[in-house]
Amino acid sequence: MAENRPHRFDRLPATPAEREVPGRATREGVVDFWAERYGVDPAVWDDYTFWEKGADKVWAFAGDVPTPIEVEALGMTFLRTGGEHWKPTTDAVQRFGRHATADDTVVDLSRERARHFLAGEDQELDWDGDWGYLVVRHEFGRRAEPIGVGLFVHGELRSQVPKGRRRKL
């Protein structure tokens, strides 16, 4: 049976029936996740292929190459499928969060709150929507623009902006 190897990217199988590595995500599962949780139209992914490098790290690539392939990067880091709840990356939310149409997993912050979020700070938030990983946006350049991923639990929005991307603006 095939195993996951580092530096090697394997295209995700289309459906669970085609899965060779136990527990690996599938294309179908990835597309369903974005549709069900964030309301992203599956057609957004028509030209995309999804890849795994190492365990539980899914990458999205806007094209196709032969699988497996050993390269430094293939498209962008996209989704962590390791924990109980799948977690989109900051890159994925910044790039594709604008396609999210759900109102219970997408939260809009004021500029002041957005600054705290970008700085990596947790904040209390009066929020009636879902718990878990949210797409966090603010109004910028006449648009509701995604900043990153927030984890909402127990009345608190916890910034998931990675250390290297945090800024104090």
């Binding site: 806007a62 190459v65 350049g141 648009r143 900043i147 603006l169």
Partner: protein
């Protein structure tokens, strides 16, 4: 010697025979360049960036020859929402030229052999509407990490990042399918960046120029080999040295299946030079364009467009 430039051997003096107005050339080289950003059209339109800068109180001027370039009189806004969202990329005006000359289209197969840190790679991806296949290669691991983080911030998803010596790049993992277009923006002696880095000439030696010219020839030859007949290769540098420009083109015209083709530039430029220090080059090198700092108040640049014939 020109004030402010750290140039013990007066390297710029070497190019005076090529320049129409020596005094203007010298003066321009000694003037700092304004900060410029390019709009990353994968994530935002120029009008949205303008609205974002207005939002943040960042003054800007639009560049007339390129709708996606903004001059920023108060410097580069690394600490701004526009940057955080990946809406803009700090890139000098002339550096935005070669990707436009290459003109990649959505869905094509494009190669960027000397890609890091990624200003031109992210521009190519945007010109391709972030679709098709863009292979961005570099030989240096540290520079590759800068390339990756810039591509990620810009939301580029059609890129494959590879690490290899561009002279020996292999198409094998891609089933041998040749490229439609290649952007050969090679490492060079960087004299044209003097306005950005006043010490750019401090380490200049003729030995380095000759050494790097050998590498440039190898990279360009391999690029031509990997491009389909009818495909396009653009060769660019930020040096004035004919050894690294026209001499490299002359070499590949003799060894590869390609020809130089004329192209339009929205900036004032001069033709490539067919003679230099006793050497003569293929006369079609005049189809290449030299951009001098005093003509458009930019950095210095060299750009040539090749069509692959077989």
């Amino acid at each position: 010697m020109t004030d402010r430039i750290d140039d013990p051997r007066d390297v710029l003096g070497r190019y005076e025979p090529l320049v129409d107005d020596v005094e203007a050339f010298r003066e321009a080289c000694a003037r700092p360049l304004p900060a410029v950003v390019r709009v990353n059209e994968i994530k935002a339109t120029p009008d949205e960036v303008a609205a974002g800068f207005d939002d943040e109180g960042i003054p800007y001027e639009r560049v007339d020859w390129h709708g996606g370039l903004f001059r920023l009189p108060e410097g580069n806004p690394g600490g701004s929402w526009a940057y955080v969202h990946g809406w803009v990329y700090g890139q000098e005006e002339v550096s935005a030229v070669p990707a436009r000359v290459l003109g990649p289209r959505p869905g094509e197969r494009v190669f960027d052999p000397c890609a890091a840190p990624g200003s031109k790679t992210t521009q190519l991806a945007a010109l391709m509407d972030d679709s098709g296949l863009l292979i961005a290669n570099d030989s240096n691991l540290g520079r590759l990490s800068a390339l990756r983080s810039n591509a990620e911030r810009c939301g580029v998803s059609n890129v494959v990042v590879t690490k290899s010596d561009a002279r020996n790049f292999s198409l094998k993992p891609y089933e041998g399918t040749p490229f439609d277009r290649v952007l050969v923006d090679v490492p060079c002696s960087c004299e044209g960046t003097i306005r950005k880095n006043p010490d750019a000439l401090a380490e200049w030696t003729l030995e380095h120029v000759e050494g790097v010219a050998g590498v440039q020839k190898g990279i360009l030859e391999r690029a031509v080999e990997m491009t389909r007949p009818g495909g396009t290769v653009v060769y660019s540098t930020c040096t004035f040295a004919p050894e690294e420009n026209e001499a490299v083109l002359d070499h590949v015209l003799r060894t590869g299946d390609c020809e130089l083709v004329p192209f339009d530039l929205p900036l004032e430029s001069r033709p490539g030079v067919a003679e230099w220090e006793g050497e003569t080059y293929d006369p079609t090198v005049a189809r290449a364009r030299r951009i001098y700092p005093h003509h458009n108040d930019t950095g210095g640049f060299f750009c040539a467009k090749l069509e692959v014939t077989a």
